[in-house]
Amino acid sequence: MDYHKPSTFEEAVAIAAGAAGTTRFLAGGTDILVQMRSGIATPEVLIDIKGIAGTRDIVREDDGGWCIGVAVTGAELTEHAEIGHDWPGVIEAVGLIGSTQVQGRATPVGNLCNASPAADSVPALVAAGAEVTVQGPEGTRRVPVEDIPTGPGRTSLKKGEVVTALRLPPRGRGGGDAYQRFIPRTEMDIAVIGCGVSLRVSGLVITEARMALGAVAPTVEPVRGAADALVGTRLEKSALDALADLAQAACNPIDDKRGTVKFRTHLAGVYARRVARIAYERARAAQ
């Protein structure tokens, strides 16, 4: 295996585009090293992107949004003084991934590119309307987070393409988000179901709504009807019922040791209600 540590993304793209065998990018390494050890992945070219300037930075952009470097770890995001004020749901989702040790290395962009349907940070990022910047041999493009994973362990990134930054939109007034997952213990587990909700309110009335579910389909599932169910409501019981029905209808889960199809579908409704209530309270408090 060839190990490269380029100092620019142009160099990283050139190495990846010209590589003959299996190529992987290395940020926190908490997935790829496990895959290498178990033989699931045997990269011939490993490109460590941590030497590229800006990959460790969390920057507030001119429009009030956030640009998060691809090597920024969960611990660095959780400890940041301001970003959790804007996007508490994204930060609580990132903070649920693994142990203290894993938080010290793992990155949300790695969580996204590992393309697990149960990735904790992804439903929260989708609900937030996050995008990534992707650079490749043919230039740079911005991609909504939900368009990166295409199936378990698979992404839409083409040969030579690398994610160069994660972008959260400006939060603005009256915005609130939340993420929760179900696991049968309190720590160190993989989501049986995860739910992210982001809302905006004006007074008591919801004006924008996005929701995404994790671990209920081959990829994180954006529940596109959430806005129809919630916008114009005050999150009354009827609105919550409609949201829960949508969440359950969006489920296409598997039966496995963590939960049956029936249980996961049931939980999707429970968590849609629960997480929407938290996001609503946060949005009301942020006016």
């Binding site: 060839d2 496990v34 290498m36 050890r37 611990a75 693994g98 142990s99 040790q101 290395r105 160190m188």
Partner: protein
């Protein structure tokens, strides 16, 4: 396979080594540098027995490549005591019998020391969450938690 030359600081000392790019930091510590305090429990980042610090940040050395240590500051359990003088955490682990087989202990000491450097007065809940990635199959954890809280109290009095 070409080996890569790496220079790092380990427990304050400059160290140079050659390693294969696939080698984990845990393998480098144990097999190349003779620092066998960090243990391989699972090798997949689940058990915390291989915990070290990387530029002051707690990480699993099994989830890090040796080549990634270039120019970085590593801390292992071997750097915790000052000569013959045990660190308060080490003394309290003995006093509270917070270990039986001892396999998880180096990782827990590194993790607990890192916690107390950040938060000298953690609650029991904070200690339990911080150490959730350090598995112990002997003690049932209670003695470990008590030892950490007692060491924290002693260190606060001494400072």
């Amino acid at each position: 396979m070409t080996k890569i030359h790496v220079t790092a600081r380990i427990n304050g000392d400059e160290v140079e080594f050659l390693c294969d790019p696939r080698e984990t930091m845990l393998d480098v510590l144990r097999d190349r540098l003779g620092l066998i305090g960090a243990k391989e429990g699972c090798g997949t980042g689940d058990c915390g027995a291989c915990s070290i610090t990387l530029d002051g940040r707690l990480v699993c050395s099994c989830l890090m490549l040796g080549v990634e240590a270039e120019g970085r500051e590593i801390g292992t359990v071997e750097g915790i005591a000052e000569g013959e003088n045990l660190h308060p955490l080490q003394r309290k682990f003995i006093e509270h019998a917070a270990l039986q087989c001892g396999f998880c202990t180096p990782g827990i000491l590194v993790a607990a020391k890192n916690l107390l450097e950040r938060n000298p007065d953690p609650s029991e809940e904070e200690v339990r969450y911080w150490l959730a990635g350090n598995l112990c199959r002997c003690t049932g954890y209670d003695k470990i938690i008590r030892a950490v809280l007692d060491a924290a109290a002693e260190m606060r009095e001494a400072s």
